[in-house]
Symmetry: C2
Subunit: 316 residues, 2 copies
C-alpha cells in the first residue's frame, strides 16, 4: 500500500465528481407522490410535478437524508430516450422489497421516467430515481426523479480506467446469510461506495473493485465487472452479495447475439488479473475498459470496447 496522501489532496478529493454526479444548475426534477402498487389508474401524471431544483424541496425530517434510508436507480438517457427502463424499475422494486419499503407502483414510475425524459437535453443525460422511506413519523414514502446532462465519458470509454482492488470485508456468502446487510439492494447508504472511490483516487487509480475477504471479486462501487478469459465472458454471479447490473445485462445481450459465450461465475482475484480483457459496466459511463489492476497493466480490446459502447449508446 502506498503512503497516505497529504491533507491537501485528501481535502480536494472530498469533492471529486462521480460518474453519476448531477449538475444541479442544469437539472430538472419531478417530485413524485408514490401511490400503492395496486393502484391501477390509467394516468399517473397528477402524482408528480416539476419542482424548482434551485429551491429547497425536502424536509430535514427526510429519512433519506438522516439515515440513507431509501433506494435509487440511475438511468442513461440518449437523445431523450431512457435506456433499460424495465431493468431499472424492476431493480428499484427488488431493492424496495429488500428494504421493507412499500412496493413501488411500476406504471407510475415508468410514466414519471417518460415525463422526465422529455426534459432531457440532447446527447447523453441521466435520470436518477429516488424512493425514500419518507419523513420521520410520516405515513408514506417520498420520491423524486431528476434529469440532468451526463458528464462527457467519451474519453474514459476509449482510454479506460486503472482500478485498485479493495477489501469489502465480507465473505462471498454474507449477503445470502445475512439479508439485513442489504448487499443486493441499491440503497441510498452509499457512503462506503464513495469512500472506496476516494481511496482509489488516493492510490492514483480511477476506480475500485471490491474483493471479498476470501478473495473473490464482486463489483465496483458504481459499476459491474465483466472479464473475458479464453474467449468467454464472465461476470460475478448476482447473489445476495452484489447488484445485478442493468448495463451488464445489456452487454450480455449484445455479446450473445454475436455468438459469444457470456456466463455468470464465481471469480477469484486471479481471474481478473489473468483475464485477456476486462470492463467496468454502468448505466452512464457504459463500458470502461480496465487498463491496470493494482498498478499492473492488463490487456484491453479496443475494437470490441468501441462496438460495445456503440451498442450501449443506441436506444434500447
Amino acid at each position: 500500500m502506498r503512503p497516505g496522501p497529504s491533507s491537501v489532496t485528501r481535502r480536494r478529493s472530498a469533492y471529486s465528481r462521480s460518474p453519476y454526479a448531477v449538475d444541479m444548475a442544469q437539472c430538472f426534477a419531478l417530485l413524485i407522490t408514490p401511490v400503492a402498487a395496486d393502484d391501477t389508474r390509467s394516468d399517473y401524471s397528477d402524482t408528480f410535478r416539476a419542482i424548482d431544483v434551485t429551491a429547497p424541496a425536502l424536509s430535514v425530517g427526510e429519512l433519506s437524508t438522516q439515515r440513507g434510508d431509501g433506494v435509487f436507480e440511475s438511468i442513461g438517457v440518449i437523445d431523450g430516450h431512457p435506456n433499460e427502463v424495465e431493468a431499472h424499475v424492476q431493480r428499484l422494486a427488488h431493492s424496495a422489497a429488500l428494504c421493507d419499503l412499500p412496493a413501488p407502483n411500476l406504471p407510475q414510475w415508468r410514466e414519471a421516467i417518460a415525463a422526465a425524459a422529455t426534459h432531457a437535453p440532447a446527447g447523453e443525460a441521466v435520470i436518477k430515481l429516488i424512493l425514500s422511506r419518507g419523513v420521520e413519523h410520516g405515513p408514506a414514502p417520498t420520491a423524486w426523479a431528476t434529469v440532468s446532462p451526463a458528464a462527457d465519458n467519451s474519453l474514459v470509454r476509449e482510454k479506460g480506467v486503472r482500478v485498485v482492488t479493495l477489501d469489502r470485508g465480507y465473505d462471498l456468502e454474507a449477503g445470502e446469510r445475512a439479508p439485513w446487510l442489504l448487499l443486493g439492494a441499491k440503497t441510498l447508504s452509499y457512503a462506503v461506495n464513495m469512500a472506496a472511490l476516494r481511496e482509489a483516487r488516493r492510490r492514483g487509480a480511477d476506480d475500485a473493485i471490491f474483493v471479498t475477504r476470501d478473495g473473490f471479486v464482486l463489483e465496483a462501487p458504481t459499476a459491474s465487472l465483466v472479464i473475458r478469459t479464453n474467449g468467454r465472458f464472465l461476470t460475478p454471479s448476482p447473489s445476495g452479495g452484489i447488484l445485478h447490473g442493468t448495463t451488464q445485462l445489456s452487454a450480455y445481450e449484445f455479446l450473445t447475439a454475436r455468438g459469444h459465450e457470456a456466463d455468470y461465475a464465481t471469480l477469484r482475484l486471479e481471474d481478473l488479473q489473468s483475464a485477456d480483457a476486462a470492463w467496468l459496466l454502468s448505466s452512464i459511463r457504459l463500458a470502461a475498459p480496465i487498463t491496470a489492476v493494482d498498478d499492473v497493466e492488463v490487456p484491453t480490446d479496443a475494437a470490441l470496447t468501441r462496438e460495445l459502447n456503440a451498442f450501449l449508446l443506441s436506444p434500447r
Copy 2:
C-alpha cells in the same frame, strides 16, 4: 431462525419508530453554514438560522439524501441541558475525518448546540446534528441541527430489551484493515442499522446486537453494549470496527467513581450469553437492561440499572 413474517407484519414494521425518531410536528431546526475549522471569530450566531421544519429546507441535490454521504450525532437533552456535548462534537469531528469531510469548526458546533438547546422542551429531548457533504458539485458541506422531544423511554429503562444477535458479515479486524468501510464513523448511511432493527422486531425482539463473522460481539445498531462478568464491567474495544459510545463513556465514569472495574475487551458471543448482567447504552434511551439474548432469558440488575439511569439523566 424463526419462519419469516407475513407481508402485513413486514409492511407495518417498515415504519417502526426508532429510539431516535424525530417528531417533526414538535421539531425546531437550525440550518448551519459550516465555517472552516480555523475560523476563530468570537461569535458564530450569524452562521446558523432557525428554519420552518414544516417547509422544505434541503435541495434534491443533497448528497446526504442521494448517498447517505455525511455524518451525524444524537445528543440527549434533559430540561434544556445537552449532555456529553464534548464527546459528541469530538466524535463528529472523528467521523468527518474518516469520511474526508472538511473538519468541523467545533466552537461553531458547540454554539449551535447551545442555541438549539434553548428551544428544547422541558423533560427529555434530543438534538440531532447532521453534517452532509453538501449539494452535488457544491463547494461546501451543508449542516443542520434539530431539537425535538424524546420518546418516553422510562418503561424500556425499567423493563429492558430482548435482543437477537445478527451477523455483521465482517470479521473483527475488518475496520482497521479496510478504513474505507467507515466502520468507526457515524455516517448517515444507516440503512443496514435500520434493517437490523426491523429484523430484530420480525424475530419478536426489541433490538439487535451485531456479531462478527468470527463470533465477537460488537454493538447494537444504535447503541453500545456493556456486560458485567464476575463483577467486572466490559465493553467491546472501540477499534476501527465500532463506534466509541458517548453514553458508555459516561457510564464508565459513573461505575469507576463507585469503585467498579470497567474495561475494554474483545468479547465473544459466549461472554454476552453468560454475563451476569448486560445493557445497551445510548444517548436518548440511556441504559436499557438486556433481558433476553436470542430468546434465552438472561439475568438483570434492576437496582444498578436504576442508579445508572438516574446518573445518566443528570446534567453532565
